[in-house]
Amino acid sequence: MIFPIVRTALVALRRDRVSLVLSFVVPIAFFSIFAVIFGGQHDTVPRVKVIVVDEDQSRASQQLVKGLESDGSLVVTTRPAPTKSQSAPSDYTAATAEAAVKAGDVSVALIVPHGFGDHPFSFGGGSNSGKSGPAIELLNDASDMIAPQMVGGLLQKAAMTAMPVAMAEQGMKYTDQYIGGFTPEQRKLMKDNLDRYRKIESQQVSDGSGAAAKSSSQGGFGGGLITVHTRSVVGENKKSPMVAFYAAAIGVMFLLFTASGSAGALLDEAESGALDRVLSSRINMTGLLAGKLVFNILLAFTQLTVMFLWAWAVFKLDFFSHIPGFVVMGLCTAFAVAAFGMLLASICRTRAQLGALSTLFILVMSAIGGSMFPRFLMPEAMQKAGLWTINAWAIDGFTKVFWRDLPVTALWQQVSVLLAIGIVLFAVARRIARRWEYA
């Protein structure tokens, strides 16, 4: 008696493509995406981009930069990428590096100051070693909590491995300047310092993070061999650092769901015959789709507004200082999202198809576009793939507005891409919608 029921259910499932897609394709797609993000692909482990400004240009500073450059976990840049207008750009300065961090080009910049090479090391954290050189400045974006920790640790590692000569020279200087020969007391002092150094070494070996891990809890890297002063140049005064990010990230994902659901009204109307009736009136297909698009834009924009107002009321997001940027990004995002919904609705034949297809597309786009997991923590290949999603551009734009406090003019790239996406998707939707026009 059981077998006929199983057989009937199996036949029904085999013919229900929507259920098949939801049962097998969506889980596999998701598994693959998260496997890639969380290190299933070892050759694409994320590398931290860092700008290094060597103001000192001493032998020691050059060795340090070389040491950082040779580290496989970092992508070190000392000058901006060439552009059409500037084929050979000059090296970053402290100011341009800070601007780059503020603009979100990188999460971390290191400024090696003048005079660093005279006293590169500060045994004992620079507090009790007598003379020590000026500290390296680590500029960071507070939204990325991992990159500065990583760079700080790798900086100490580079000092240990890439600057043996400098270390010896520094030791000699200490000997000449402060010890003037090895008296028993001096031997004791040197032994103490060496003991401390060995301790640091053993720490680095045991936890892999080096002095930075310990010092990070103190808000900087001053306890390492190289004194580092950390300064957050973005988001240092924000009350709730990630609220703006998640308001945008989650908002865009649900906007996509709402837009595709709302655009699905087109399918209901086609099924009921209302679409035929409308098209037999004075309204043509372009007018009808444009009307639906405008409605879906307004719906999406209202949804975003409610989301950000909630973030303001409950999570203290500074909403009212960013109204112009929000309006620009909100409208562009709403346009792209609404056009996306129209395209999906025009492709599908039934509501059920639309439900399956939109679930598949939206969850995949949200996963690789940063709605579920910040893109800067993803492997580079995945970050690039994310640029094909509406989510990534929308989140980047809202982050610029609410996190980096950038002016509306700084949104030109996000605005252009979102508008282009919207126009292309709507044009394709219009083309596909011809199937409803005439037989």
């Binding site: 015959g273 209302a274 035929d276 009736r277 098209l279 037999s280 005439y438 037989a439």
Partner: protein, 329 residues
């Protein structure tokens, strides 16, 4: 009872539209219309003219090409050959759309909108605004006897009310030609009568109507002329009386029911030139005196007569005679 007010008020609502066609311009002209869907010929050279104020019944079995013909008139099908003109304008053109009202077979309404909101929406799609729109909505609610349910969500209306609202939405822009595609499908007899009254009210106002149906009695009651469509062609077009006369002349039909083995009944009916429809034998006779011969024959074949009647052929007889199929096949 539907109140037959409206013509005067209606004309005052629609000052630009006149129910009567301009002199010499027919409400509908179809000339050698052809439409293929792949290898299937849906419409095969149909030509048809509709006179002003006329109600034309369009009958045909399923798959005969009626729907394609209707969609071509509405401008939703692009013909492969031939032309369709509504008051002289090509089907689908702006003026043709304004002049044509379409009541689709489906309930083409917004279920989450009220009756009034539906009418307002469709009225605005035809460019009606302000006072004109409100007057048109009021007229439609009155015509469809839905004033009491004007604010009710459409999905909550009864089947008959939805049908009436569906019809009203097709007339919201005060067209001069109305195409009604099976407007009584799925409604109870009471609601059907109400719909007949609505249509008769329109007819009394001189509206030109094309009416498709699967119910012969509707066509007989409402239509001036009947066009029978089969295999993409119009196989007969005339008044009901003329169609019956041309198919049967002055002959009558004898309907008889017999008891006996079904095969024997079937063989005997075929031998005598009749046919068996739902267990009833049908014969066509010139004179009632031929009935005696039939009964003798049945008796000789060992069939026992249960019931016998004589009737004048009707539209259904014509349809069966011409297509070999029941209308609802």
């Amino acid at each position: 009872m539907i109140r037959e007010k409206g013509l005067g008020e209606r004309l005052s609502v629609n000052s630009t539209s006149d129910l009567a066609a301009p002199r010499g311009v027919l409400p509908l002209e179809i000339d050698s219309l052809v439409k293929h869907f792949g290898p299937v010929i849906a419409v095969d050279g149909i030509s048809l003219e509709l006179r002003s104020g006329e109600c034309l019944g369009l009958l045909g079995p399923n798959g005969a090409g009626k729907s394609t013909l209707i969609r071509a008139i509405v401008g939703r099908v692009i013909p492969d050959a031939g032309r369709v003109a509504i008051f002289g304008s090509a089907a689908g053109s702006a003026s043709a759309r304004a002049a044509l009202g379409w009541v689709p077979q489906d309930l083409a309404l917004y279920p989450r909108l009220s009756a009034t909101e539906n009418l307002r929406s469709f009225g605005s799609y035809y460019g009606l605004t302000g006072k004109k729109l409100e007057e048109a909505v009021a007229w439609c609610l009155d015509w469809a006897a839905l004033q009491d349910r004007a604010g009710e969500l459409t999905r909550n209306l009864s089947g008959g009310m939805k049908r009436r609202l569906n019809m009203a939405a097709g007339l919201i822009h005060q067209p001069r030609l109305v195409l009604m595609d099976e407007p009584t499908v799925g409604v109870d007899p009471q609601s059907r009568n109400r719909i007949f009254e609505m249509i008769e009210a329109l007819r009394a106002q001189g509206m030109t109507i094309i009416y498709t149906t699967h119910y012969m009695e509707e066509a007989e009651r409402l239509c001036d002329r009947i066009a029978i469509v089969d295999h993409g062609r119009i196989i007969a077009l005339d008044t009901k009386e003329a169609l019956v006369h041309s198919a049967f002349g002055s002959r009558s039909q004898v309907l008889a029911r017999f008891e006996g083995p079904r095969e024997r009944i079937s063989e005997w009916v075929a031998e005598r030139g009749g046919r068996l429809v739902d267990g009833t034998a049908e014969f066509t006779v010139k004179h009632p005196t031929e009935i005696a011969g039939l009964l003798d024959g049945a008796n000789a074949a060992g069939l026992e007569l249960v019931d016998l009647s004589l009737r004048r052929p009707n539209l259904e007889s014509v349809f069966l005679h011409l297509t070999g199929r029941e209308l609802r096949d």
